[in-house]
């Protein structure tokens, strides 16, 4: 969900940005972080806990806690809470601790 209207603050219209999540098309807006764009699309489970594989979501929002690590354009362990969304990004959930090749 997004706050479109506010009694004091203005939220000017921002340019839409197309990206994919798990292969499906989604729209974010210019200035979003990846995690913010996913939330606006109703995706709140960003990763999973490493032992019990329970869903993990937006937590520290400042790039410290690793709860939002996802695979972006093939790169694992991207901190989606502080990484700006760009046109055409392919975002997927990450299984485990991140596989590097």
């Amino acid at each position: 969900m997004r706050i479109e209207q506010h009694p004091i603050l203005d939220f000017p219209e921002r340019k839409p940005i197309a990206f994919t999540f798990e292969g499906g098309p989604m729209l974010g807006r210019e200035g979003d972080t990846i995690a913010a764009a996913l939330h606006a699309n109703g995706i709140s489970a960003l990763s999973e806990s490493s032992e019990l594989h329970r869903p993990r979501g937006f937590y520290c929002a400042i790039g410290n806690c690793s709860s939002c690590h996802m695979v972006v354009d093939g790169i694992p362990n991207v901190k989606t809470c502080i990484t700006p969304l760009r046109e055409g990004m392919a975002v997927t959930r990450q299984a485990g601790k991140g596989a590097y090749r």
């Binding site: 362990n77 601790k97 991140g98 590097y100």
Partner: protein
């Protein structure tokens, strides 16, 4: 208070000595530490264990210690797991001199039954697929080598010793050792005086100071070594990767993090264990040359600890001529963790007057006083 045997230091050596004495039926053993178990060099170490050494004594110490680590959970009846990951050490030869030396090392190791072997660049790449094989000439590999969790290994010795009645006093700082007529009579701490006739100096970086309290001068000094750990990733590296000439060791621990370190040739001989940006910079550049993929990972944390260096980079174990009842277990030069099972066994044999499993001549303090040629271990980072 009194103690039959008082051990100074509750690191891996002190706890291993205590357990070995206790399992042989020795009563009234007291271990004193100014902090807590594994709070010094043990808890700060890289925790690799290897049989690939250049001197016969180090090979034997390591070989028998690793045989113990393989069974440690069972022998010590440890309810947790010491996390022994036995996937080898890949030691890189980067210069023609190293390549030649490693051929000799492997011949020595093989003669002692250590299953190490020389491998080509291409074989090294198969063992560690993300290795930049162009940066090396050859390598040696031994699958018996590996890595343990130093906190859990110390905890295993500590719990097993405690079950057998060993008393641990911490935090309690030793302030003096009373010697009378050339014999140890008591140890004074900041809390009490403990009457004892046998004291073991297993104080790691502070073993020189402890020895001085008993009036004994030993040729050791502490030296800072730094280390860092990265974020965890899925497993990509089995063995420890190590280079002596390029000053590097790098291991992926079971949790998925990479732990890596290097020595600082300019390190002062003091108790400094602070962390610096220079190490971060040099470590990152070094690891990038050999393991480029690891350079992509974020550094989570860095720390440092003290090696206790001896003149020949081999431990000093046993009695001292000047003071009866004063025993040394120090000077491990960065490999006290991996030798601990043998340290514990040999020290218990010396203290109880039993025949020793290995000839202790080469490990005694006396080797430095006799003007004899000592063989210096070069396989140290």
């Amino acid at each position: 208070m009194n103690a039959e045997i008082l051990i100074i230091g509750a690191g891996i050596s002190g706890t291993a000595i205590a357990w070995n004495l206790a399992r042989k039926g020795q009563k009234n053993i007291v271990v004193v530490d100014s902090g807590y178990p594994a709070c010094g060099a043990t808890g700060r170490c890289g925790a690799g264990v290897r049989e690939q050494w250049a001197t016969k004594m180090n090979c034997l110490m390591a070989q028998k210690s690793i045989a113990f680590f393989e069974q440690a959970n069972e022998i010590l009846e440890y309810p947790d797991d010491v996390e022994f990951k036995q996937e080898g050490y890949l030691i890189l030869a980067c210069t023609p001199e190293e390549d030649a030396q490693f051929t000799k090392n492997v011949a020595l190791q093989n003669s002692l039954g250590i299953p190490s072997r020389k491998v080509t660049r291409e074989e090294a790449k198969q063992i560690v697929p993300h290795l930049n094989e162009k940066a090396i000439l050859s390598a040696t590999f031994c699958g018996k080598d590996g890595h343990l969790n130093p906190f859990k290994m110390t905890d295993a010795f500590y719990r097993a010793a405690k079950r057998l009645g060993v008393v641990f006093l911490f935090p309690e700082t030793v302030e003096g050792i009373d010697v009378s007529d050339g014999k140890v009579v008591a140890v004074r701490t900041d809390k009490r005086t403990i009457a004892t006739s046998k004291v073991v100096d297993a104080a790691g970086g502070f073993s020189g100071e402890i020895a001085k309290m008993a009036g004994v001068s030993i040729p050791v000094y502490p030296e800072r070594h730094e280390i860092l750990v990265t974020e965890p990733i899925e497993k990509i590296q089995g063995p420890m990767v190590m280079s002596f000439s390029k000053n590097l060791y790098c291991q992926q621990v079971p949790h998925g993090s990479f732990v890596m370190g290097r020595g600082d040739p300019g390190a002062k001989h003091d108790h400094d264990i602070s962390s610096g940006w220079r190490f971060l910079d040099e470590m990152a550049k070094t690891v990038r040359e050999f393991l480029p993929l690891v350079a992509k990972l974020r550094v989570i944390r860095q720390w440092a600890g003290s090696y206790t260096m001896s003149p020949d980079r081999q431990p000093i174990l046993g009695t001292v001529p000047e003071v009866e009842g004063f025993y040394l277990a120090c000077g491990f030069s960065g490999h006290g963790f991996m030798f601990a099972p043998m340290t514990g066994l040999l020290m218990s044999e010396v203290i109880l007057g039993e025949p020793t499993t290995l000839d202790m001549t080469e490990l005694s303090l006396a080797r430095f006083h006799q003007n004899q040629a000592i063989e210096i271990e070069k396989s140290v980072v």
